[in-house]
Amino acid sequence: MSVTTMLLQLTGGMVTTVEIFFLTLLFSLPLGLVISFGRMSKMGTLRAISKFYISVMRGTPLMLQLIVVYFAPYYVFGIRISPGYRFTAVILAFVLNYAAYFAEIYRSGIESMPVGQYEAAKVLGYGRAQTFFKIILPQVIKRILPPVTNETITLVKDTSLAFVLAEAEMFTIAKQIAAKETSIVPLMAAGVFYYIFNLAVAGFMEYAEKKMNYYR
């Protein structure tokens, strides 16, 4: 197999990798915010549930979570797994896992906000939702960009874990070609791709941080 063919096959996997990446961010970022609200809630039970959720998601391997999410419908509920569920399971597992990490990042950001900002908003008559979305959240986003960058870079590499469900993302394909052709080139090529992807992610996040630098 020529290198060109190899790369062409890898490209197919790349698309899936990129899809996993963006879909995970798309759903886990807002879900993380919701979980962080639960984690900071005045209601004890809600707080306990959120805390437990986060501890399980952070305390068990993502690879195991992928397997559980994929096989649970069959083993727990006896539902036959349709072939189309594979990709959904991958996204679901990633979203559930990353939302837990993002929740803690949001929480750290929200709790670091000076109480004076809330008080000023209150005296000026802002409602609770207005205070959060207009005054607090924009400042929180600026504060949490560095840890979010970290998490996002980890996500790029973690997408390769989808191979446990034989989802045809880039790493899965690279491994298959490597085994078939007894060549390390596809794996190297995959490595280069992950690296370039992350360069782009880091570059974008740096740009975002700069954009937020208009105030201190």
Partner: protein
């Protein structure tokens, strides 16, 4: 009519009494300064009056409307909607400004009128420009708070409070976070407001300022109003504690 009326206000933190029994009423156009040693409850009084802190007992009224009252020994607050109405009557200027750092000066001033009071943006902007001119900040409307000196930031926060056209304005040690050089410019602005008969309650450590500008000075100690009166009365008070306290400031 009294703009503000406080009757028998009580407040404690973790069983520790901070305000014992405060009664105070303020009339339209009056400038009242609150002085006293640290820990005497001045700031707590202000925070209870501005609904940032819930009092344990007593009565709080703005323009005759009750924000809180006592029932069977318990302090009851009005409903959310009512409190929202009542909040419109007053403004508060904080010791450390609490401007919104991600908004420009202009946005800091107009955002509450526009998004809370639904004032048309254009009108709010015109009002803001007028205020900025009045406070000597006409060239700062596009600046962000971090680009301003402390004195300028405090003047912006005064403008922000005034933009909502409150009937009564509270100041919580408005110059305590400023160095002496910048204190003057903020005090000057407050004096201007006094000339325009803005009703104000000012917690301060600036004795000379309080003396010059107040219609009434309240001396607080250990959670009670130890004495009150015109500046002349207070500054020539026979009460030993008051003389002692003022003496320390006018060495």
């Amino acid at each position: 009519m009294n703009l503000l009326e406080i009757n028998h206000m009580k407040k404690g933190f973790d069983g520790l009494g901070v305000l014992e029994d405060i009664s105070l009423s303020v009339q339209k156009g009056e400038v009242v300064s609150v002085i006293g040693p640290s820990g005497s409850g001045k700031s707590t009084l202000l925070r209870c009056a501005t609904l940032l802190e819930k009092m344990d007992g007593g009565e709080l009224k703005y323009l005759g409307e009750a924000a809180a009252w006592e029932e069977n020994g318990k302090c009851i607050y009005a409903g959310r909607q009512k409190l929202k109405e009542i909040r419109k009557h007053f403004g508060l200027v904080f010791q450390n400004f609490n401007l919104f750092p991600h908004y420009t000066v202009m946005k800091n001033i107009i955002d509450a009128p526009v998004s809370v009071d639904k004032v048309p943006k254009k009108e709010a902007e015109e009002r803001a420009v007028k205020l900025l001119c009045q406070l000597g900040l006409e060239d700062k409307k596009d600046a962000y708070p971090y680009q301003l000196s402390g004195g300028q930031q405090q003047r912006v926060s005064i403008a922000r409070a005034l933009a909502l056209q409150p009937k009564i304005l509270f100041f919580d040690e408005p110059t305590s976070a400023l160095d002496p050089e910048l204190t003057g410019e903020v005090l000057k602005v407050i004096k201007e407001l006094a000339k325009e008969h803005m009703t104000m309650i000012i917690v301060t450590h600036e004795m000379q300022f309080a003396k010059e500008l107040s219609d009434r000075i309240i001396f607080m100690e250990q959670g009670v109003i130890r004495c009150q009166g015109t500046p002349e009365e207070i500054f020539s008070a026979s009460d030993e504690r008051v003389r002692d306290f003022i003496g320390k400031f006018t060495l």
